[in-house]
């Protein structure tokens, strides 16, 4: 079949919402875009382990410690599914990691912010996982099969994390003055970075149109961001916390909350490497990888020895 015919059949499948599977023909740009998007998501999961892992040893109760361990373990699991989904597109995990370590591949900028108090464990679950779910739920219907199936599992666990995070916030907000202050401080620091998680405004978003055409993006950045704000503000009210945005107010006419201008300078600064923790995060990942080289070599060497013995 000619490339044009293949492309036509591919587009028909997309239009009919038939899943593309690994062995199906796909345009090179589709494949590359998927690799970029899925690997970026996978990297976000494993880099995202770090800010939360930072509070496991200091979790304030055994129940919370166990929940935090389970949560970070889930994130590692998500990383695994997503790297596997990526591998179905013909790349190796090690190559993807190399791109992460070199800075060629991105991960969600939110994880370049530090976790400074226990309340950040609540705020991350509530806001960051909340925003992630907004982004990810539509991807359960993504056109690429392995990606969509991975996202179904991811989303199920993420919404559990989100509820858990909100419950941490609720406990703090019902607690002592210091705990309330901790919760408010966390909201102050995580609110704007969470809004930034939806990416640049639609006007500045370079991949949106093509990705929507291909069914690997279902809503625009601004649509999702608005939805997140609309869902989250009432939750903040229940907590009795103040969202750090003086322009925030309900717009009766639009049926949505209006909110203030995002500091895009900060956004692009963090993306370009100047976030509070960019270097720390990548250094931690690189160190884990480099320090683990001898372990991976040993595992391979042992597996080879075993295989040889079986043959002999």
């Amino acid at each position: 079949m000619s490339t044009e015919l293949l492309e036509q059949k591919f587009n028909e499948k997309i239009d009919q919402e038939v899943r593309i599977e690994p062995k199906d023909w796909m345009p090179e740009k589709y494949r590359k875009t998927l690799i970029r998007q899925i690997s970026q998501h996978a990297h976000s999961e494993i880099v995202g382990m770090l800010p939360e892992a930072n509070w496991i040893t200091r979790a304030p109760s055994l129940r919370r410690k166990a929940a935090a361990l389970a949560k970070v373990q889930d994130e590692a699991g998500h990383g695994l599914y997503l790297y596997s989904a990526c591998e179905t597109l013909g790349v190796e995990r090690d190559d993807l990691l190399a791109d992460l370590h070199s800075g060629k591949a991105k991960y969600s900028s939110i994880f370049n912010y530090p976790t400074l108090s226990w309340a950040d464990m609540g705020a991350i679950g509530w806001l960051v996982d909340g925003a992630a779910i907004m982004n990810q739920v539509p991807l359960c219907r993504a056109s690429y099969g392995p990606y969509a199936r991975a996202m179904v599992r991811v989303c199920k666990e993420e919404s559990f994390h989100q509820r858990q995070g909100y419950e941490i916030m609720l406990t703090l907000c019902k607690g002592s003055e210091a705990q309330k202050k901790m919760a408010q401080d966390a909201l102050n620091r995580w609110w704007w970075p969470s809004l930034m998680m939806f990416g640049p405004t639609d006007a500045d978003s370079k991949h949106t149109e093509q990705s929507m055409r291909w069914g690997i993006k279902r809503f625009t950045n601004d649509e999702l961001r608005q939805k997140f704000v609309d869902v989250t503000i009432p939750q903040a009210e229940i907590l009795g916390l103040t969202v750090p945005d003086k322009d925030l107010k309900w717009n009766e006419e639009r049926g949505h909350y209006d909110f203030g201008e995002i500091n895009w300078e900060e956004f692009f600064n963090v993306i370009s490497g100047n976030g509070p923790c960019n270097k720390q995060r990548i250094d931690a990942r690189k160190k884990a990888y480099d320090d683990g080289a001898w372990v991976r070599e040993a595992a391979n060497a042992y597996a080879e020895k075993k295989a040889k013995k079986k043959v002999a």
Partner: protein, 251 residues
């Protein structure tokens, strides 16, 4: 306190679980392979879970309306009864694996025996924990073998870990008065019997791993009596900080 000795006996194992779980949690996000990062976190999670069951029971025996968290977060270092083995710093992955193996080969047989405890609550915690520990021991033993019989570098590293940890492996099977009283009272475990099984397992795995068994017979001790290494204070400074800084709060 309805039974001081049982309380002490339970804390020994509870503290082992908590401190080793805490140490393993330090690996979270920093493992050498994503799958093994998950395994380390999983074992940590199991250990924290075991610690909770023991602390809950100990708190009931104590009868002062305290909780699992009071026992974990508000005791001083000298009140902790864990063995020195579990508070040793993680070192490299090989060191962590060897420390884990030397612990798992205890805990697995310990729970196996504790399942026959005359105390039903202990027997039931043991039954649940034993299943988990079987998996832990399989994992750590497999890795000891894989690293020992892997490359020259991995062999040397894990041999070095074994040499360093050798004098920490026996405290856990040396009887304290809590241990002997527990055995006499019927709810405890015979450490002498346990040690035999354990030593056989250790020897078998180390041999398969092509590792040399160190000759030393000296054993560090003190942990079970509350005399720890300098590491424990730092572990508790992190572990207990929030509870200490904001006393009496719900979290």
């Amino acid at each position: 306190m309805t039974d001081q000795n049982k309380f002490d006996y339970i804390l020994q194992q509870a503290d082992n679980c908590l401190i080793l779980g805490q140490r393993l949690a330090e690996w979270c996000g920093h493992g050498p392979i994503l799958e093994q990062d998950i395994a380390l976190t999983n074992i940590s999670l199991d250990l924290i879970g075991q610690a909770r069951l023991f602390y809950q029971y100990a708190a009931e025996i104590q009868g002062e309306e305290k909780t699992e968290d009071d026992l974990a977060y508000l005791r001083d270092a000298w009140g902790f009864k864990n063995v020195l083995l579990v508070e040793q710093p993680n070192g490299d992955f090989g060191f962590t694996i060897m420390r884990q193996f030397l612990y798992d080969t205890f805990s697995c047989y310990f729970y196996e025996a504790l399942m026959s405890s005359s105390d039903e609550r202990l027997a039931s915690i043991a039954a649940k924990s034993h299943k988990e520990t079987l998996y832990h021991m399989k994992w750590s033993a497999d890795w000891v073998i894989r690293l020992g019989d892997g490359t020259v570098e991995s062999h040397n590293r894990v041999q070095q870990a074994l040499n360093e940890l050798w004098s920490y492996k026996d405290e856990i099977v040396i009887e304290t008065s809590a241990d002997s009283d527990a055995l006499a009272a019927g709810y405890g475990v015979s450490l002498a019997e346990l040690k035999e099984k354990r030593d056989a397992k250790i020897t078998a795995v180390l041999e398969e791993a092509t590792l040399s068994i160190p000759e030393g017979t000296y054993s560090h001790k003190g942990g079970k009596e509350g005399v720890h290494s300098e590491h424990l204070g730092y572990i508790l400074a992190d572990l207990q900080f929030l509870q200490r800084a904001y006393p009496g709060n719900e979290w």
